[in-house]
């Protein structure tokens, strides 16, 4: 679908349109996408913006397509998506924050900050799935490569027949080089995310102008930030309550969660079990490592405090933050 003669603004509009058409029958969606791509093909940015204003709001086009398709009762071969809003309902701060957390979150809060950023990237509708996979796998691939190199060096160092080579970095150097390399990769991928988001933001601005021109006011759906105080307080208690008033604060947050009608039963269970599931997972992995072969030296380096911090603080905190952000977005989409 990527026509090189389509301008950046046009590509952004098409990306927004493709997201809006999520769930529409494949044949109809492909027809709309190819038809509008034809209209934007070969136009410079200014002409494309003018044509986009004529075409109108992608949400409106998609709504009309859905209405016409449902009226026809044509079996929809596309899977019915969840009720998440498209990028027209996603505030720009969300995608900016996600990119920043990917870039710098892992430096501020090692690993956990980056994980939260990646989770927000996957929840965001600003980027394509391919972009999300690149951002997720690139640092992981780099870390795995560094780990393999480290184990190879450890194995070579353990060999009595191989003398120490001053040109080969020591395992200590490799570890620090990997850490610095991972940080650099994270920063590069975070900046790359912002660059990939720019045409989408540009198209959203043009589409917003089209909406205003069509109806005389902005019809942007409410952002998830305007969900009301109750869901926000509930999510904050889930994320932080257990650290302010140990355990009880979190339990109170769970109580508010289940008392609210802002979420479905399934969403409430996710919000409730995210933190405990992270703790259980950490314990199970720890037990598996203890029962594993040849890991005695590795686990001995982790003191009791390390394990408490990791399993009792960092991991459940990350899980609760990810679940909390997800809950706020679900509450926002339901309110809209």
């Amino acid at each position: 679908m990527t026509d090189p003669t389509i301008s950046t603004v046009g590509r952004g509009y098409l990306a927004e349109l493709e997201r809006a058409l999520s769930g529409v029958a494949a044949e109809v969606r492909d027809g709309i996408m190819s038809g509008i791509s034809e209209e934007l093909s070969g136009l410079d940015a200014e002409a494309a913006a003018a044509r986009i204003r004529t075409l109108g709001d992608p949400e409106f086009i998609a709504a009309e397509a859905r209405a016409e398709t449902h009226t026809d009762s044509t079996p929809d071969s596309s899977p019915v998506p969840n009720r998440r809003k498209t990028s027209a309902g996603e505030p720009r701060w969300f995608s900016v924050l996600a990119a920043l957390l990917v870039a710098l979150g892992g430096i501020v809060i090692p690993v956990v900050g980056w994980v939260i950023g990646i989770a927000m990237v996957w929840m965001s509708t600003t980027w394509r799935r391919r972009d999300k996979w690149v951002v997720t796998l690139l640092p992981v691939a780099g870390t795995m490569l560094a780990t393999l190199l480290l184990f190879a060096q450890i194995g070579a160092a353990d060999s009595p027949s191989s003398p120490a080579n001053p040109l080969v970095p020591s395992p200590f150097d490799s570890v620090w080089s990997s850490v610095i390399g991972s940080a650099l990769i994270a920063v590069v991928t975070g900046v790359w995310l912002l660059w990939r988001a720019k045409p989408v933001w540009a198209a959203e601005s043009v589409a917003a102008d089209a909406r205003v021109a069509a109806v005389g006011h902005d019809t942007t759906v409410p952002s998830p930030s305007r969900v009301g105080w109750y869901p926000v307080v509930t999510v904050l208690l889930l994320m932080l309550g257990g650290y302010i008033v140990p355990l009880l604060g979190w339990i109170f947050g769970v109580g508010m969660l289940w008392a609210s009608d802002a979420w479905s039963r399934r969403e409430k269970w996710v919000g409730t079990l995210a933190g405990p599931a992270a703790i259980v997972a950490f314990v199970l992995v720890g037990l598996a490592l203890r029962l594993g072969v040849g890991m005695g030296a590795g686990t001995g380096n982790l003191t009791w405090w390390h394990r408490v911090l990791m399993g009792g603080v960092a991991l459940p905190f990350a899980a609760n933050v990810i679940a909390g952000v997800w809950l706020l977005r679900r509450a926002g989409s339901r309110r809209a």
Partner: protein, 112 residues
């Protein structure tokens, strides 16, 4: 109430209007949508493609790719033989139908 009645009326005839436009010449999507949007038959191009999909499924319309006058290759739509027959049938029925409806609606107005 008026808007709902209008929407229902338009839904009933929009497919025939598309056939009517294509009877003049093969057209691509945006070229079809412009007169339909201008006359209020459809609200946006999003309505058009499901209609075209139905017409193709019924064998009344077919499509082909062709370079347009402005350059890019576009998908053009044209009437099939069955589509021409369908349009002809609609034209034959439309006149008597509108006269019948006008007569009935007119009587209701007189009784008010």
């Amino acid at each position: 109430m008026t808007a709902d009645v209008g929407a229902q009326l338009r839904k009933g005839v929009v497919e025939s209007c598309v056939l009517g436009l294509l009877s003049r010449e093969p057209m691509y999507g945006w070229q079809l949508s412009e007169p339909l949007i201008a006359t209020g038959m459809i609200a946006s191009i999003g309505t058009l493609y499901p209609v075209l999909s139905r017409l193709r499924a019924q064998g009344l319309v077919s499509s082909y790719d062709q370079a347009s006058d402005s350059g890019p290759v576009r998908k053009y739509y044209r009437l099939t033989v069955a589509g021409s027959q369908q349009l002809s049938n609609f034209r034959k029925q439309w006149g008597p139908f509108t006269r019948t409806v006008e007569e009935l609606v007119g009587k209701d107005d007189n009784n008010d």
